[in-house]
Structure formats: C-alpha cells, structure tokens
C-alpha cells in the first residue's frame, strides 16, 4: 500500500479505521484483563506477549497516515509492554491503570482518525509513560531495536497474503436491495404463472415455465444465503466493547465486577449488531449499577466480593439467544409492583401479572439513587423497545439475593424475513413467521366472549382472540365475520388475531417506515409484495403486548 499524501482524508483513512480500531480495542481490552489477572496473582505472560504485535501494527499504520498522536501513543504502549514483559515485578496496579488509560486514549485517537486532533493528550500521556519507565531504568537498547523495526514496517506495507477483501457495508446493502427486487420479481412471475395456468390449462410450455420459475427461486435462495453470510459478523464485535466499559463503570460505582463471556463467535447480521450494542450496553451497565451490591455488602451476604456478570450468546432455532446475567441482589419485586401500581397498572392478582410484564413499563425505575451512568430517563422500556424493533423478545428472571438474568432472542438477520401474508379489511399485511405458531379456521362457535374479550381454545388452553381490524384501527362496521385466526407467540405470550384471508407465505425484504408515518405501535416496517403493492409488516411482539388493551 503506498501512502497518498495528496489524499490523506479519503478512503485510506476509512481503511485505516477498519483495520486498526479492532486492534486498538483488543489491546485496550487486554489491558483490563491484565489488571484482573495481576490482581489475582497471575503474571499473564502469554497475554502480555500478544500485545506488541498489535500495537506495532497500529503504530505502523498510524505513522503511514501521518496520525502522529496515535502513532506515539501506540509506541509508548509498546515500550511499556516491552518493559513489563521483561520485569514481572513491575506488573502492579498503577502500571495496569497506566496501560488502561493509554488503551482508551489509543481507541479514541484511532476512531477519530483525524490529522487535526489536539496533540496535547497524547503528548502528555507519552510523557507519563516515559517517567514511569524511568522509575526503574528501562533498557534503552530494546527501544531502539523496536524503532528500527517500525521504520522497516512503515516503509514496507501490507504483508498479508490471504484472500480477504474488505468491502464497504453499504455495498452489501445495495446488493441486498437488488436481491430484494429479484425476489419481488420472482413472486410476480409465480403469480402470473398461476393465473395463466388457471386460464389455459396444462400444456408443455407452461410446465417448462413452471420449472424455470422454480429454478429461479432456488438460484435466488442461494444468492440470498450467500449474501446473508457475507453480512454476518461475530457477536464478539459488540461484546468486545464491554470489558473496558465495565471496568470504568465498576470503578466509578465502587464495585468489583468481572465479566465472563461465551459464544462470542455466534454470527449476527451487521445491521442487527449495530442496533444491538446500545441496549446490551444498557443492560450491562444496569447490572453493575443496580444489580451488583458493593463489595462489603456482598461479603456480608456470604458471596465473593467480586461480582460476576455473564454475557452468553448462542444460536438457537434459527435465532440468536443472548443472556445477560449477574449474581447481584436480584430485582426488588415488591418495589416494582408498588411502582407499577403507582403508574396505574392494575394488579389485582400477583399471579396473573408476571414481573416481566411490569419491569418493561415506561417510567418504571426502582433505583433509589439515580446514578450518573445508568441514570433515569433511559429505562428498561427503552431497551425492550429497541429489542422489539429488531423483531426480538426480552425476558427476565430474578431471584432475591441470587441475581438477575435478561434473556434476549433475536433474529439472525433483519433484511429478509419469512412472513405470512394475511388480509384484514381489504389490506394485506405481513406477519413474521418467527412469531406465528399456527393458523386456524375460525369456526362460528369457536370464539366465545369473556369480559367482552374474545377467547378460544387452543391446544388445551384458553387464549385471547383479538380482532385484526380492532387492533389495527381499520375495522369496518358492516363486515362479514372473519374466517381465520393466526395464533402468535413470543416472549412467553400468546394471542390470536382474527383475519379475513390467509394469502400465503413469502420471503419479504424489510423496508423502513418513513418518519412522516409517525410511530405506529403495531407496524414495524413495510415491504413490497409480488404484485407490486406495498404491505405493512405487523409488529407481532407489540401486538402481543398491547393485546390486553387493544382486544
């Protein structure tokens, strides 16, 4: 790669961030882990050994881009790590703190990737490292050799010989749009074929047309799955941001917390990941600030002073399940019920209204002290909203004194979802198959009324049957009885929706909602059907939640 000084702000900088930011983040996370290990008496030699190579790459690339503050910070960190590798007696808390500060700084500098940054913070940090190193006389020779290697690397360039190509994610989005059009055209073809077949009866040409349309569908499916695979990233790219954040938050709160992760390799569509990081961050912050007891309270309760937060991800039945669990004090169910009651939620019977339907209510926060970090304002309702907007569900389990666990279930991709197309009051709607349990013909006597709400027997249980038109606000007064109901299930809730017609299954390409449309509760997006008409995608999760009111 030759450096174009004449174009220092173009794509090269973008490439630089793409390559170096993950490295810088790994380095910064490793520093946090080092501190933990050192405190536990583990010298963590192999962890230390993983650092210089990464720092070296960041340093070299920063130098190539003329980003001096990042280059010098990486260099100082490299030197400090070199010293720490040689002398284990210097692996102390202050040293770890110094590294962690530098790691954060480096991540910031790389992320901003601007030649116009104030060089002050980096210069001051480099000076701090220099003084720290002089505290016990760093062997200067080694630093020299490090520097020589940098020069070589700086002039040389990329020596990677693998077959990986970096692609701007927007290009993948553009490809997906094209694929989407292909899918729509395919369903238009299939529809036209069906009509033609009905009109003219069987013949050889029609058979061939049918074969071709089937083959086209297979081709498009293959294209879809290949494209989807290219959009997948390991969830570690989001998890990776947590260790440093967790350490800073725990420090600020006076708590001792360690983070255990598993399933970081679980793949998710980048579009999902991008919108997942905020809500996850919020759950982890909540766990530290509200879930964890201070160290003394923990030891009084007979628990280890250091609390544990587990972040686990795993693929499950075509979706991804993520669990955020802490071993803290658990949710205060009484306080939550009291607060919910104050918010006007009817709580006639504790058994009937489970905790999980209360904790995600807007305005519900039982924390007595409002913390700076997990302050008021953004509550679990916002987290739940963000997860629902992704077509996901969120559930909570808690046990007093033992801890709290949030379980999220998310679709692997947002872009193309298998849906059931239904008709309600002459409009077509798409219902994501992920939340459709069954479709049932509505026999005249099958639906009874209890307390003015429709109920039906389903698999031995009574479930609420809501009228589609009433839920959507489209109900016409003089209509024929609806002929089908669709049983929807998500997050432990079940409900049926009465519809006029079941049109069929279709893979739909999800398109957004224009801001001009406001924020409809029951619609999560739009899509284009085979006949070119636009249909709204129903938000099954929101309908399941609102069903108590809307039915």
């Amino acid at each position: 790669m030759s450096v174009g000084d004449e174009n220092p702000f173009g794509e090269l900088l973008q490439d630089y961030v793409l390559e170096c930011l993950p490295l810088a983040e790994q380095v910064a996370d490793t520093f946090v882990e080092l501190e933990r290990r050192w405190r536990a008496g583990d010298p963590a030699d192999e962890l230390l050994g993983s650092l210089p190579g990464r720092l070296h790459t960041v340093k070299g690339n920063s130098a190539m881009m003329g980003l001096t503050p990042a280059q010098e910070t990486a260099h100082a960190l490299e030197d400090a790590c070199g010293l720490l590798r040689r002398s284990s007696e210097r692996r102390t808390d202050p040293a770890a703190a110094l590294l962690i500060t530098g790691g954060g700084l480096l991540v910031d500098l790389v992320r901003q990737a601007s030649p116009e940054l104030d060089p002050g913070p980096a210069a001051r940090y480099v000076e701090r490292v220099r003084q720290w190193m002089q505290g016990e006389g760093p062997p200067a020779a080694d630093t020299q050799s490090e520097r020589r290697r940098t020069d070589r690397r700086g002039g040389g360039g990329a020596d990677k010989t693998d077959s990986v190509v970096r692609v701007d994610f927007r290009r993948l989005d553009a490809l997906l749009e094209v694929l989407g059009e292909g899918l729509i055209q395919h369903s238009a073809l299939a529809e036209a074929y069906r009509r033609l077949a009905r009109r003219s009866g069987a013949c050889e040409e029609l058979d061939r047309l049918d074969q071709t349309i089937l083959a086209l569908e297979k081709t498009l499916k293959r294209l879809e799955s290949t494209l989807m695979e290219t959009r997948l990233l390991p969830i570690a790219s989001v998890f990776g941001r947590f260790p440093r954040m967790l350490r800073d938050t725990a420090e600020a709160e006076g708590k001792r917390v360690r983070l255990l992760q598993s399933g970081g390799e679980t793949p998710l569509d980048k579009a999902v990941l991008d919108r997942l990081s905020e809500p996850l961050l919020h759950l982890v912050t909540n766990a530290i600030v509200h879930g964890m007891e201070p160290p003394d309270a923990r030891s009084l309760a007979g628990k280890p002073e250091e609390g544990t937060i587990r972040l686990d991800a795993a693929p499950h039945a075509g979706r991804v399940v993520i669990r955020v669990a802490d071993d803290g004090r658990g949710l205060d169910e009484k306080a939550i019920r009291k607060k919910a009651e104050a918010l006007g939620q009817e709580l006639r019977d504790d058994e009937v209204v489970p905790l999980r339907s209360l904790i995600f209510l807007p305005g519900l926060s039982t924390a007595e002290q409002v913390s700076r970090l997990a302050g008021r304002g953004v509550g679990l309702d916002v987290v739940a909203g963000a997860i629902h907007a992704l077509g996901g569900t969120i559930d909570v389990e808690t046990e007093p004194g033992k801890g709290t666990a949030f379980t999220l279930s998310l679709p692997v991709t947002l872009a193309i979802i298998r849906s059931l197309i239904v008709e309600i009051d002459h409009e077509r709607f798409a219902l994501p198959m992920a939340h459709v349990a069954e479709t049932v013909r509505a026999e005249p006597d099958a639906i009874r009324e209890i307390n003015h709400r429709g109920v039906a027997q389903w698999r031995g249980d009574l479930i609420h049957v809501a009228d589609g038109g009433a839920v959507l606000g489209t109900a016409a007064a003089d209509r024929a009885p609806r002929r089908f109901y669709v049983v929807m299930a998500a997050g432990g809730k079940r409900q049926a929706l009465l519809v006029d017609r079941l049109v069929g299954h279709q893979d739909i390409v999800v398109k957004g909602l224009d801001p001009a449309l406001g924020r409809p509760d029951v619609v999560s997006g739009t899509t284009i059907l085979g006949d070119g008409r636009v249909a709204c995608i129903l938000d099954s999760v929101r309908i399941l939640e609102g069903g108590r009111r809307a039915g």
Binding site: E177, G180, E181, I184, E427, R428, L472, G473, T474, K511, G512, L513, D514, P515, A516, L517, G518, P520, D521, V522, V523, T526, I528, G532, R533, V534, A535, C536
Partner: protein, 173 residues
C-alpha cells in the same frame, strides 16, 4: 444535481419553457423575475409549488394505508422499489379527503432532503409567473396554524395559491 433527478426534471422544464413561450406570445412581454411553478388542483382551487422542489409526477393506483399513521398521511406507495409516503394534502389543508379518480396524481417532492408524495386531485401545468404578481394572502384567511400559504399569484385572470412545502409538510421541525 444528480443525474437521475436531472433526467426527471428536464421534461418538466422543457414543458415549462414551451408553456412560457406560449405565454410570452400571448402577452407580448412578461418582465421582471419569475417564479417557476407546478400547479395542481385541490377541490376547485389552483395551488402552486416551486418546480425546483418537484422530482416527478406519478399516477398511482394503489396507496396502502398504514394503521395508526397521522391523519394527513394517505399511506405508502411503491415508487420503483422505493417506499414513498403519500401525504393527503387535502386534509393537511383542511379539506375533506376524496376518493382516487383517474385524474388523481401524486406529486413527488423533495423537501430538505426528504422525498414525499403529495396526493392531489389533478395536475394542471408547469408555468412561470412574474414575482410581481404575487400578493400576500388576505389577512382574514390567515391564522396561526396556516403559515404554509406563501401568497397568491394573480396572473392572467387566475389565482394560484403558493404553498410553502417546508411549512406544510414538516410542521413540527
């Protein structure tokens, strides 16, 4: 200007020039700066919006209603694979909504980077009117929540009500 937009706008402008040539021939002279308008009909009134904000005019047969959308939104339509939100300009201007007719059109406009469709009863023409012909709307018909009337052009025995699309379509921003 992006190529696509130019391609769409060019015929409009060509049409406007032709209309203008006729107008000039009719009146011999139209001095002073001019407003370049696309005019359309709602109820019985003629409205005008700047041609520079118009991307194209389309015929739509299917507008899908969106549950719980604001009252002045008619729904969404398929604009060559893009989802276009269609504003019911009638209800936005305090007129009763009307059924689609063969003359109904959607005027696709771009306002502050956002593309929206305006459902109108019919499109009349692309025309130029002298700025000097524009007078403020009579105070009696203006109220606080009707700030989207820019004025009225009196031109060749016509009254063209000039709409401020930013105020009419992005009222809360």
């Amino acid at each position: 200007m992006p190529v696509e937009e130019r391609q769409i706008r060019a015929p409009l402008l060509g049409f406007a020039d032709a209309m203008e040539a006729r107008a000039v021939a009719d009146t011999a002279s139209a001095p002073g700066p001019e407003l370049h308008l696309l005019t359309f009909v709602l109820e019985r009134e003629e409205f005008g919006v700047p041609v520079t904000q118009v991307r194209e005019v389309i015929r739509v047969s299917d507008i899908t209603r969106v549950p719980q959308a604001p009252a002045h939104v008619r729904g969404v339509a398929n604009l060559r694979g893009r989802i276009l939100a269609v504003v019911e300009l009638r209800s936005r201007l305090g007129l009763p909504p009307a059924d689609l007719t063969p003359r109904s059109r959607v005027v696709v406009v771009e306002v502050r980077g956002r593309v929206l469709g305006l459902l109108v009863d019919a499109v009349r023409q692309v025309t130029k009117v002298p700025e000097a012909s524009v007078v403020p709307a009579p105070e009696e018909v203006i109220s606080a929540d009707v700030d989207y009337l820019r004025g009225v052009a009196r031109w060749q025995s016509r009254l063209i009500i000039l709409l401020d699309l930013e105020k009419a379509l992005l009222p809360t921003e």
